[in-house]
Structure formats: C-alpha cells, structure tokens
Symmetry: C2
Subunit: 192 residues, 2 copies
C-alpha cells in the first residue's frame, strides 16, 4: 500500500511522508495519530516520541510539501525563452499534471486549519507573483499583468474546486482540452 510500510524503526520524516500521503488520499481531517500509526504498523506511543502534538506533525509535513512545491513547476517552465510561450506552457502544464492538484485541492479544503493557511498563502502569493512577472514580460503593463495574474490564478483555483468537489461534471478529455485552449485564448495576451 504505502512505500514506507514494512520498516522496524521510524524517523520523523517517515511520519511526515505518511501524513502527506494521507492528506492526499483523504484530506487533512483524516490525519489522526492513531490512523497514521496503524498505517505505519506501530502505535501512538511511537508518534509522541517524534512529535509533540498532531499540529506539530502537520506543520512539519506541510513545510516539507511547500519545499517540494517551490522547486516544482516554475523551475521547469522558467527556461523557455519567449515570454508568451512561457505563459502558454505554464497554462498547459498546469492543465495536464493532475497528480499535484490533488494535494493542492486537499489543502484548499483545509484552509480553516491554522497550520495550513500560512503555507497556502505563501505558495499562492509566490505563484501569482511569478505569473504576474511572466505576463509583464509578455507585454502587459504592470497593473494589467497583476490583475490578469490574479484572474488566471483564481480561475485555476476555482476550476480545481469545481471539478474536484464535483460541483461541475467532470468534463470529457477532449472538451477539457478545448476549454484550456479557450482560456489561453482569453487570458494570454496575443503575440506582439
């Protein structure tokens, strides 16, 4: 089931990774100490040796996730020379990588939790700032780029919610492709 099962002795990192897996599968609320312990084949006596509290685990796990996110998409797209193509590539890449969005959507549902909020805040502001800079490089002026970046990011977050939470029917593959092209057409400034 999990890659980190079947070990005799655990480290704090093992608990963090198991927590991230569980968040991805069942959301933050499902991360209980005893369920995690069962999954790792130990009891909660072990957990409280590694962590002071459940919240301490969550913070550590989210810190780890934020680290991974920072070196994620941006690093891959950043080498594209043409500013406009860089933005387009960002949109397309975002639309096709499903896996990473599962985690993001799970965290989106847990914004109530005080440990989640600051992480999501930092991640979102970093992403919007990057997108805004890219749009400015692609020809928009400062405030337009900022507004367009917020609009695009809001559309991303919203569509993620709408589809993942089944508020809108999950579109067929080809229809979603057409939607993405529509979005690119509407939100990416034309080539200069």
């Amino acid at each position: 089931m999990s890659a980190s099962v079947e070990r005799q002795r655990l480290s704090a990192g093992d608990w963090e990774l198991a927590a991230l897996e569980l968040i991805e599968e069942q959301g933050v609320a499902a991360v209980t100490v005893e369920l995690l312990a069962r999954r790792l084949g130990v009891t909660k006596g072990s957990f409280y040796w590694h962590f002071a509290s459940r919240d301490a685990l969550l913070e550590a796990a989210l810190k780890r996730w934020e680290q991974l996110d920072t070196v994620g998409v941006i690093a891959q797209v950043d080498r594209i020379a043409s500013p406009r193509e860089r933005v387009v590539a960002l949109f397309r890449h975002t639309s096709h990588e499903i896996r990473e969005h599962v985690m993001f959507s799970a965290l989106l549902r847990a914004m109530d939790h005080p440990a989640v909020q600051p992480v999501m805040q930092r991640v979102s502001q970093r992403r919007v700032a990057y997108l805004s800079a890219a749009l400015r490089a692609a020809g928009l002026e400062r405030t337009d780029a900022a507004h367009r970046a917020q609009l695009a990011y809001a559309a991303y977050v919203g569509m993620l919610q709408l589809i993942m939470q089944r508020m809108l029917p999950r579109p067929a593959h080809e229809d979603f492709e057409a939607y993405v092209e529509h979005v690119i057409d509407a939100l990416v400034p034309p080539a200069s």
Copy 2:
C-alpha cells in the same frame, strides 16, 4: 445578538435560521447541537424533538438557503434588455454584494460534508447555465459561451476562496474596482 433569541417556544424553522446564521459566522463545522441550543436559550432536549439528527437540520437549513439563492441575483438582473449589459451587470453585482458571498464561501469550505455537496452542485450548475445562456445571447457561439461561463464562474469561486481565506491580501477598494473592470474587459465579449 440574534434576531431569533428571546422566544419561549421554537419551531423547526427557528433552528434552521439559527443554523444558517452560525454557518455564516463560523462555518458548517461550528454547527453543533449544543452551541445552537445555547444560542437559542434552550437545551438539546428541545432540538431532538424538532429534528432527528444534526444532519437532518443541516439538510433542512441548506434546502432553505438554496431556495433563497434561486430567487436571488438572477431575478434582479434578468430584466435588463441588452444581453451584453446584462452580463456586465451580473459581473458588477456579483462583485459588490459581499454579504451573500460569506455564506457561499462558508459552504465552499464544507464541501466534504455529504449534505453540502449536492446543494452546491445544483446551485453552481444553475448559475453556470444561466451565465452561459447570457453569454450566448451576447454573441458568443455555443461552446465558446459554455467555456467562457465556466471560466468566469471558476474565477469567481477562486477569487472568493483566495480573498476570504486570506491566501491573497485583501485588496484596497479602488484596486478591487480596477480588477473587476479588468475582468469585464477580458471576459465579456465586446459590443457587437
């Protein structure tokens, strides 16, 4: 504090309204039987006379909310003759009414709950369908109108999340106004 306080005998409707108030203030998770009873000046013995369970109350309250939502924005905007102006008015109205979004945002955070999901699904699909029809009347063809409606609604949902959950800094009034105009410019088709 609440309008429904200071009554001797309660009806099921009083509990539903109190539940909606609580959801708006503190979210769905805060709706516990005993807290509600304290607010209404009674004990839980009363509650379980009116409702079979906490979930039954939630369903009844949400049903009531959905009713109110249906006759809400759409009815007010629908009388505007010009299709394009109707869409613009829809965008502007949505941007200025803050109060209603508080409830919507609270429900957005509770999509995990099985009673919330179908309500939000119906409401969202109804809104997207209306917006799509309006955009088509404003000159877009069928698939473009559908995609644009989804994009706009996703942007609404996403921006609501981003601001209400403090993932992005709450913009100054004038800056938000400029943002709304930017969105209208980007998403509403030009006058024919």
